[in-house]
């Protein structure tokens, strides 16, 4: 597999997250220097398009929204804020700021576009807030308090599954999706949340296998099979792959991908969910694939850079193998 190194001057600060946009043409990065930078990475080049300032502390994660809503980027930071940036007439501006948390916001994740424009934010105050865009620059907030004791480190949405119906919904009418997402926290647990009919969020499942803080969770994209898959990684150096075979979504079984020597910061799936990228404190990014007999095999590793690699790599498009 081939990779492309992006050189950017972050001085002494660490780069916390790097995310490709939907089409793989742009890369958003965020770091301890409180900035969010956007690069154009087409054709192997890298041109800095924007340097967004607005946070007052290290920025932990960035997330691109689906392009049908325009060019929208969310970022979350130690300063307890979540900022949503939008590109208007070629320039990036802050379009909304969410300050509803009492401590560092660690993770942001956009819901599947079928649900609308919804952002989930996980924070060190243990709460998860869901921001829904209702139009005219207004965002509605729903908060799940005490989702995880001590703090929530990661949130990841399940792919949108049309519930059973094979008939085409008449236009304008939204089908009744069952919204679900997973969260990982400092209580070593992964929790699965489901939205009830009354709009309230309820904890549906608790997945227990890690012995230390869960650092990242990633719900794999759906490839049409009835199974659901979630990857989780933790401070204890382990990465687990959770699969649920039945359609009712009740029994999840973990399989250990690998035990690394150091904390694992991020896990991320490719578009068709056949490759998992794992990055950790041992300065490596490794790529994993499931083999014929169900075992996960490391297919490549990238050993670059000094210092702990805590950037997550999402494959907007698979590079030529």
């Amino acid at each position: 597999m081939q990779g492309q190194a992006i050189q950017a001057d972050f001085k002494q600060d660490s780069l916390h997250d790097a995310q490709m946009d939907y089409y793989g043409t742009r890369l958003a990065t965020c770091s301890s220097d409180r900035s969010v930078k956007i690069f154009d990475v087409r054709n192997g080049g890298q041109i800095l398009i924007a340097d967004l300032r607005g946070h007052e502390g290290p920025v932990w994660q960035v997330a691109w929204a689906h392009p049908m809503y325009g060019n929208i980027l969310a970022s979350c930071s130690y300063d307890r804020k979540v900022i949503i940036w939008k590109e208007e007439n070629g320039t990036w501006e802050k379009t909304h700021e969410h300050t509803g948390h009492d401590s560092s916001v660690n993770s942001v994740c956009w819901a599947p576009h079928d649900y609308g424009l919804i952002l989930a934010c996980g924070s060190s105050d243990g709460a998860i807030s869901l921001l829904t865009y209702t139009g005219e620059g207004q965002w509605e907030v729903k908060k799940i308090n005490n989702a995880h004791t001590i703090g929530c480190n990661a949130v990841s949405w399940a792919p949108a599954v049309v519930p059973g119906s094979l008939i085409d919904q008449p236009s304008g009418q939204k089908p009744n999706y069952i919204k679900k997402f997973a969260s990982g926290g400092c209580d070593n647990l992964i929790k699965l949340w489901k939205e009830e009919e009354d709009g309230q969020w309820k904890e549906e499942q608790k997945l227990e296998a890690h012995s230390d803080w869960v650092r990242d969770v990633a719900w794999a994209p759906s490839i049409g099979l009835p199974t659901s898959t979630i990857a989780s990684c933790s401070q204890d150096g382990r990465v687990f792959i959770w699969t649920c075979d039945d359609t009712s979504g009740n029994t999840w079984s973990p399989k250990l991908l690998h035990k690394f020597n150091d904390v694992v910061w991020h896990v991320s799936w490719s578009i068709t969910a056949n490759i998992l990228a794992v990055s950790g404190g041992d300065n490596k990014v490794t790529l994993w694939k499931e083999s014929v007999d169900g075992q996960w095999v490391c297919i490549s590793d990238v050993n670059k850079g000094q210092g702990s690699v805590s950037a997550s790599v999402t494959e907007g498009q698979q590079n030529e193998q």
Binding site: Y22, P67, M68, G70, I223, G224
Partner: protein, 543 residues
């Protein structure tokens, strides 16, 4: 491949030249493997024919012979040419005995002393038994004949017939399949598989396919002589000689940098029903797995993604889903590209993807103020909410500028108008303008009235509709009937009573005044019209 070879030689920059050369060598290696797979797996050549195919295979991939042949023959004195013996040896190594004989006859003509020996050797060459296609002799018969011939050659060697000419003697040894003699010609043979085939030709011409791998392994070992270790290509060929298809695929996957070769080879073998498919969790079987990998790789390219689409179509289990996931991620840099992508989705009834892509394009258009484009995309996406948004923008523009952009589009909406109320209003309002322009005043009037009474007009637009009624009211002939005039009056009062009260002074006051004046004019016009209408209707019966 020829072209690339030419380019490689002609390249001025040595780095590029090297790059091209390496590409050429990779392609020729792939061709080598492919042809061998064809011979062994697909044609499944039996003993006897097997060797002939292998000979062809070797001849195909060693091309210097022909140029050398032309060179030597073209010279004045072929037999005195530097490379003469080299050429003859190569011809013998490749089993091209007829041509070798011709060369020898030239030598015989040139130097009478060796003429006798040349003739004998030539005869030996002529009489070597070969299995020719269409020949009715069985394998056993061939073996027997070959055995006799072999013994005859042996005898000549024992009798030192060729002792006088070391060249001829070594040729005879080669024809006897003497390994030492063959290994002496390492340089001419160039690689172990050539060595293998030549060795088989002159020692075991009726080799059976199942015994092939034994000879292959020993040939490799002898040829390399412990000096170097086998390269990936060698391993692949060995696996092929062992008829281990899975190993071939595995070694190729490891050695080559992309899935192109392996995907196609596996596909071919699968179609020949040669692959016992494992049931993989991902990709259902190996062929599909590799095709999916290859197609996914294609999608990263700005134009080859279209090929990827076709490949996904041929993956029955997971192709469609993979295509759905990938096709949305293609960057839509131009409208043509977007249209291409949409056409592909529509052909395959991927309605979700069509909707999603159209929404993205519509959003883009609105941001760039191309309202007509945005409207057509939202219609294609059957997105009512967005259509309403765009229609509102149109109406707002009209309020501000007094004219519509993209008239063509709005005029030709047709049944798509029904997508959203706002859109219907937009279409009908435009129709009203057209009627007025064509002087179809009564039609215009009734349409205007229906627009107001049907509640599909947005509040903000009512004042404009009412004002639009003015010119119709001022016409010489009575356009609105009494009934219609009453309706209009009711609408006017409705509107006036529900107008928001301006709380701030200043600009709004002036606006309010202007509006009040307009409404007064309207009331006057309506009253006048009512009068005229009543008179008209009263005087002429039933009009």
């Amino acid at each position: 491949m020829e072209e690339m070879h030419q380019v490689a030689i002609a390249a001025k920059d040595p780095a590029i030249g090297r790059q091209f050369s390496s590409q050429v060598s990779i392609l020729s290696a792939m061709e080598l493997i492919w042809n061998l797979c064809e011979i062994l797996f697909i044609e499944v050549a039996p003993a006897g024919a097997l060797l002939l195919h292998l000979l062809d295979w070797v001849r195909l991939h060693v091309c210097e012979v022909d140029s050398l042949l032309a060179d030597v023959l073209g010279s004045e004195n072929p037999s005195k040419h530097d490379s003469f013996w080299k050429l003859v040896t190569i011809l013998v190594l490749q089993g091209r005995l007829d041509e070798a004989r011709q060369m020898l006859s030239k030598e015989a003509d040139a130097s009478p002393s060796s003429a006798g020996m040349c003739r004998i050797l030539g005869d030996l060459m002529r009489t070597m038994p070969v299995l020719s296609p269409g020949n009715t002799q069985t394998l056993t018969e061939l073996e027997l004949k070959w055995q006799h011939w072999h013994e005859e050659c042996e005898r000549h060697l024992q009798d030192s017939t060729f002792a006088a000419s070391p060249h001829l003697e070594s040729l005879c040894k080669i024809m006897l399949g003497d390994e030492a003699a063959l290994l002496e010609q390492k340089e001419l043979l160039n690689n172990w598989y050539h060595f293998l085939v030549t060795r088989l030709l002159y020692s075991h011409p009726t080799v059976k396919p199942i015994d092939l791998h034994l000879y292959a392994q020993s040939s490799l070992d002898l040829f390399l002589g412990g000096e170097s270790s086998p390269e990936p290509l060698d391993n692949i060929l060995l696996a092929a000689f062992e008829f281990d298809i899975h190993q071939v695929i595995k070694e190729c996957s490891i050695a080559l940098s992309n899935w192109w070769f392996v995907a196609h080879l596996t596909d071919l073998l699968d179609h020949c029903k040669l692959l016992q498919s494992h049931n993989l969790y991902f990709g259902s079987n190996m062929r599909e797995f590799l095709l999916l990998e290859y197609a996914s790789g294609l999608f990263a390219h700005h134009s080859l993604w279209q090929l990827g689409v076709d490949y996904f179509d041929y993956c029955p289990e997971l192709g469609r889903v993979s295509l759905e996931l990938h096709i949305e991620r293609i960057p839509l840099s131009t409208e043509q590209k977007a249209l291409k992508v949409l056409r592909i989705c529509e052909q395959r009834q991927m309605t979700e993807q069509v909707r999603s892509i159209c929404k993205i394009l519509a959003m883009n258009a609105v941001r760039n103020n191309r309202l007509g484009s945005a409207l057509s995309w939202s219609i294609r996406a059957k997105d009512a909410a967005f259509a309403t948004l765009v229609s509102d923008r149109f109406l707002k523009d009209y309020c501000e500028r007094g004219s519509f952009s993209d008239l063509d589009l709005i005029d030709n909406l047709g049944p798509a108008m029904m997508l959203s109320d706002r859109l219907t209003f937009l279409g009908k309002y435009r129709e009203f303008h057209r009627f007025y322009g064509e002087k179809r005043l009564t039609d215009a009037a009734s349409l205007l009235l229906s627009l107001m009474t049907s509640q599909i007009a947005p509040r903000s637009f009512w004042v404009i509709l009412l004002i639009d009624a003015l010119p119709l009211l001022e016409e010489k002939e009575v356009v609105f009937s009494a009934e219609q005039t009453y309706e209009l009056m009711r609408c006017l009062e409705d509107f006036a009573s529900r107008r928001p009260v301006w709380r701030e002074p200043g600009v709004q006051r002036i606006q309010e005044d202007v509006e009040n004046t307009k409404l007064e004019m309207l009331r006057l016009a309506l009253a006048r019209n009512l009068g005229r209408a009543i008179i008209k209707e009263g005087s002429l019966e039933g009009s």
